[in-house]
Symmetry: C2
Subunit: 328 residues, 2 copies
């Protein structure tokens, strides 16, 4: 920037004002043009590290994601690329901090080395101590969790609503005996899938249906074993899969066993995965309505950085929407 200033015949400060369009600095058009011409001629590229050093904080947004990330490409409005793109439009740069082993204070220290504007991570990576440490450094924490937290701004991915809608659809069709698939671990672990299972069971029972949790991992042979058991002990007339994969696997096993779907058993999945249209019968599914312009996650991050985070926004209960196809 010194070179640019020299070539333009102004001070470094003036060059900085022009190149950053600093609000409040009144620079006549002529001077501005001189600086910009010099910058172009010299192919000036700013040095963000120097700026961050001076300012005391960077324009980085750290996303702490691991393999099992909630922020997958499959969830378009929470996908990494989407978030990165939204955040960039606001002048920030999104980076992936991928160490799955650290959390709490250790994670906070790793993040703070970058003096980022904000950090996005699942709620379990934050502790009271680490949030305090981040606050001291001026870094805004944003959590992703199943429930809101006093600790920090949290985007609540409460998709129990999907489970309720799935059970509701089966009830509307006249089902009386409902099976809700999913492994015991999922149900216990208080994760997204567990939430779906629990809410599907609760909603079915509220409607007066008989509803059971049927353990099944989303693996090929598991579905056949479940159907074998049912053929001995009696079939349910409705099946809820906490993901389309669960539902699709079971649908395949029922087809193999010659059970009529949806005539004898109705099957419904969740997420409205694109493969639902490939199955025969086509798989009915429930999707969360995530539309609404901005990426919710990116929007929350930017709001939190700019201090306009409204705690009321924390619980983001996505409206569920049944996509009716053939299977239920």
């Amino acid at each position: 920037m010194s070179d640019v200033a020299r070539q333009a015949g102004v001070s470094r400060a003036t060059a900085s004002y022009v190149l950053n369009r600093t609000p409040g600095a009144r620079i006549p058009e002529q001077t501005r043009a001189k600086v910009l011409a010099a910058a172009e001629a010299l192919r000036y590229v700013p040095h963000v590290s120097a700026r961050s050093l001076r300012r005391g904080r960077s324009d980085l947004v750290v996303g702490h994601v691991d393999g099992s990330a909630i922020m997958s490409d499959r969830l378009p409005f929470f996908g990494l690329v989407q978030v990165a793109s939204e955040v960039r439009k606001a002048g920030y740069t999104f980076l992936i901090h991928g160490d799955p082993t650290v959390s709490g204070l250790a994670a906070a220290r790793a993040w703070l080395a970058l003096r980022p504007a904000a950090v996005v991570a699942t709620l379990d990576r934050f502790t009271e101590e680490s949030v305090a440490m981040l606050a001291e450094a001026g870094t805004v924490p944003v959590a992703l969790g199943r429930r809101s937290s006093e600790l920090t701004a949290t985007v609540v991915l409460d998709d129990g609503e999907l489970g309720r809608a799935a059970a509701g659809r089966l009830a509307d069709r006249g089902c009386r005996r409902i099976a809700v698939l999913g492994s015991h671990e999922d149900l216990a672990a208080d994760q997204v899938v567990g939430n779906r299972i629990a809410e599907a069971l609760a909603a079915a029972r509220e409607r007066g249906l008989e509803a059971h949790h049927v353990p099944m991992r989303p693996q090929v042979d598991a579905a056949a074993r479940v159907v074998d058991g049912w053929l001995r002990d009696g079939l349910p007339d409705g099946v809820v899969g906490p993901t389309d994969r669960h539902a699709g696997l079971l649908l395949g096993a029922l087809t193999d066993a010659g059970v009529d779907v949806p005539g004898r058993v109705a099957v419904i999945g969740m997420d409205d995965d694109p493969f639902c249209d490939l199955l025969r019968p086509r798989l009915t599914s429930v999707r969360a309505d995530l539309t609404g312009g901005d990426t919710p996650l990116a929007g929350v991050v930017l709001a939190a950085i700019e201090g306009r985070w409204d705690p009321g926004d924390a619980v983001r209960r996505f409206p569920a929407h049944v996509v009716v196809r053939d299977s239920a």
Copy 2:
């Protein structure tokens, strides 16, 4: 770090040597321990911007990816999270630069603001000029492309092999008239899918089969239209889908039309997507064998940064592997 040095009773230089384990600096155990204790007590967090400023370059690796990214979560060995994780183990931080509109010199300038160690982008984002500009700044460019390039280190994703293997499988089964699905645009655009289509056609013809390209977009109604046409004009006895979605859609349409698969028509897809097991008949597919320890992409990036890039590594032709199920 000044505080740490003061508390440990040493100079800032010594503290730096200890905290960075600078090779070549001989620090007695006692001094080392004093510094580390002080750092711990003061909860010292390094400031990477300051380090980058001093060093003249950062430890960042920029990944320029957009929505249609080749680096999707679906390709585990090229997924963002995987690459970020591998790269982190080597001490670098991966960040997503998501502006899809820039390329060439404009992109290079945007990347260079971060003074990154390396940049990963699709080959078309680099030009001779931009590569020179990056080189001048000491940033290593790594490209992803369909073919290798003299311009820069390139990871070649040549999956035409998948197309050849798919056609080969149908030939082995005794098919004589083969249809290769996929849109005209794909075939013309010299992209991954186009490569698969072209190579499938070529391989089939080399084996003496009659092979046609049948335009079909990967959309629900498109498959039904293709099958309708075939029912009038005659069915092929083998169908290659350049992705499992193409194949799965067609499989569904054939089932709807009452055509026996694989008895009357064999169908094969590519990628071995997890949904292949959900379809009935189960979809036979071809997968690229991407195994082999390290993330190939991350490995190439690290090799390029450390100057041990071997041009011979550029062409990475993945061995294709047919996963036989029911449909072919």
